[in-house]
Symmetry: C2
Subunit: 222 residues, 2 copies
């Protein structure tokens, strides 16, 4: 499959790009508002993979070009760029099987991080509202430690929670997640169940801040 | 320590009572609005422990009597009984080190469970608002599977998240949680961070409903 990571020059985009390129045969494409930055980062990821003796071609494009002809588009952008990013690529999503969102709305306050969903109820629901009607949306990969993803020698051994109303799209994302070694996808329900999934991200950060040895903490359900 | 489980005749009260009696030397007292029911359940728990070759005395009382002279009071009642339960025992909490709340506000809808906090922001914050001012409140033991707790042969191997503003009280609950074999307490922050902790309970139920093999699912952060 061809996976386009819009905002793939950021931390979570980098982590997912490296893992998919390292662990699977999927074609990984980096998108950015600035195509030059996308190309530079794609080159960096190739170099990183080479240092692990893996030769993979990763290309960088403007978001619009990256979304074009992709099977899966991941919105690896901060929540406040969700809407304009979707709008900028909306007419390129005709062939896309699924639009994936790992973003979470949070506030940092003195006492820690707090879940702060948009008016739509959750970022996942905001994405579903904003995306073209025929493009299914799945929330996934929330709260994964970008550092742990990007360190290809680090064992993941954690779960990621999937929410979405389109079962085929959810199945596609499940396979993508399963392709990353040590990552187990679990079904957390429909779009209406996404707030509970997203609110785990500030919780994970609070746990990392308040407990020793949990710096890059992940979660397992068992 | 003397632990009073108000509403200790319910599922979560039973689970915690059995584990503390089985794994620790703490004195466990069962409270109920109906003292006769409390005594009957306490006898049942003693019988269950005897079947595991453990001889422990567990007493049952009306909630008021159970709270009297307890070091730790656990509000093992449903969220809609929180306020009247606290009010009924408020003048007996003078010597209590900490009031513990595992309750969570949820709605069950067709598409699964949804987090539904009270106006106070969370049940933990509602308890803190309702309790006498000098009684510290700690949220803990949310979302533990009552069935897994009550099955003394089942391995727990899971985490429980603690929230509270009083560090001494949180330390007391941490020790109590640590006393239960296989249960690891983690610090999730202050009372203001409790909504994120509580909203994991509907998430756990949704995961149990949507995934095979996760019937009595717990959580581990690693």
């Amino acid at each position: 499959m061809r996976i386009a990571l819009l905002g793939g020059t950021g931390d979570i985009g980098q982590g997912l790009a490296l893992r998919w390129a390292f662990d699977t045969d999927h074609e990984v494409v980096i998108g950015s508002r600035d195509p030059e930055k996308a190309r530079t980062k794609a080159d960096e990821y190739e170099t990183e993979l080479e240092s692990m003796s893996v030769s993979r071609s990763i290309n960088g494009f403007a978001n619009e070009m990256a979304a074009e002809r992709a099977d899966v588009v991941v919105l690896a952008v901060p929540p406040f760029h969700i809407r304009d990013t979707i709008e900028s690529v909306a007419d390129r999503l005709g062939d896309v099987d699924v639009l994936v969102t790992p973003a979470v709305g949070m506030n940092r306050e003195e006492d820690g991080f707090h879940y702060k969903p948009p008016k739509a109820g959750s970022v996942t629901e905001l994405v579903a509202e904003t995306a073209p009607e025929d493009v299914p949306v799945v929330g996934a990969f929330h709260g994964l430690s970008a550092g742990r993803l990007a360190d290809l020698e680090a064992e993941l051994s954690q779960d990621t929670l999937l929410v979405g109303d389109d079962e085929d799209a959810k199945e596609t994302v499940k396979l993508l997640a399963d392709g990353i070694e040590g990552l187990r996808p679990l079904d957390a329900g429909g779009l209406a169940n996404s707030a509970e999934v997203e609110s785990m991200t500030p919780l994970l950060i609070n746990l990392a801040m308040n407990n020793e040895g949990l710096h890059d903490v992940g979660v397992r359900f068992e």
